[in-house]
Symmetry: D2
Subunit: 137 residues, 4 copies
């Protein structure tokens, strides 16, 4: 069910907002406002920490590092969050990029990211905060 | 001059937005929407880099560090951005917190922050992105 | 070829550093120092903008949204950065999570992320800054 | 009391680290390593949330907004964190920039920042995470 709400803005601010939409390629103001709202809500999901979120862990590593693959697998099997999928990209002879998609409480997802990114041989790692989308209509 | 614009949202998303406003203490939706828009515009001002911005540089340092005060003063006199004010807080026998308020192009403000925060004796430093407010009615 | 370098620290700071390593699960100081250095270098790669980087774009969307899949595919075919892979996760009846792994200049990768995340029907989108790992031994 | 510790790095990574130091104006590796460590520790202070931190709240507002000054003062008197100082800059006929330096638990400092930045008439507000410097020798 759609609802309409209106906001009052100074004309100059509205004009600058329209410029911003243009530069980012938004079709209309509604979509841009929805995006701003959803972004604020996803940030809050990660702070409040109760409902499940989706996390995307990106790892860049050298697969020649001894024992690294075993340890990464071990950690993934032991973790409390549930791992939805992993995607592996062979970037060159040495470097792999791996994406681990995880669902769980923010604290569980962060703990898994911490354990993986601190491994010896992992050159770069980070956690990106996504959402299950459930309550983001 | 005020203008009114309206956005269409799914009812569930609007309800969650209202919850967010409540938790952050907003009085009404208009003010929250304006804040989201202004935040996006300030971020863009710092990225595009042409118009002047305001920067707030926070430094925590030990004033016993030899020569530190002289060098900080020297750097502030040499910089291209214009320094509006500095505020000094004596936190304890050793530790000072200093706020340097700067106006200039983003690149000039960043360069000054870089030079100050890398000094020996400066324990912690960061740059906070503010605005002149000129076009943010 | 490995090199050894040494740094001088106040004993109290070193102790706190060791506490940090412990809490994050690092095995030794060398690995933690390497991680801090690599993180600073990856941040710089994304700022300086010349060498190719890897970007990980996360999109959460409702696949029932009319035309969304066509437009996403179109945009991916048109973009200047090269798309390495996409991974799709069916989260529930409505919600999909998609990971697009991209290689290119930071500006090209950001432009692609912008075009995808602003589409109507995309509820949440972000870009995570990764690296080709080439010069991060 | 100073201590020396050494880390082992691949020669190529060390070379890139030296380039980074150069570009940011560091005098030597020790100072850069100390800065990286201190930055990680300050981030942790703000996450763990028990020890007192310093917060720097930046507000840009239009002082013609009715009642704004009274409400800002009221909020500052009511808050649990202790306000160390405020600095006021008259940017132009309408726009003021105000810096509020606060000491307290991270949650208290965040609550104060939230109450101030959501006020009607405050165009832009943010909280910058600083430290008391106590344990950052």
């Amino acid at each position: 069910m759609l609802e309409r709400f209106s906001a009052t803005l100074d004309a100059g601010l509205l004009e600058r907002f329209d410029g911003l939409l243009d530069r980012h390629g938004y079709e209309n103001r509604s979509e841009a406002v929805r995006d701003l709202i959803r972004k604020a809500l996803v940030a809050e999901e990660w702070q409040s920490g109760k409902a499940p979120v989706m996390g995307v862990i990106t790892l860049v590593y050298d697969h020649h590092q001894r024992n690294l693959l075993n340890r990464m697998t071990q950690i993934q099997h032991d973790c409390q969050a549930s791992i939805i999928s992993t995607t592996h990209v062979h970037m060159d002879h040495h470097n792999c990029l791996e994406i681990v998609i995880v669902k769980g409480k923010p604290s569980e997802v962060r703990a898994l990211a911490d354990r993986l990114t601190t491994l010896k041989g992992v050159k770069s790692g980070n956690l990106s905060a996504a959402t299950t989308g459930r309550r983001l209509t």
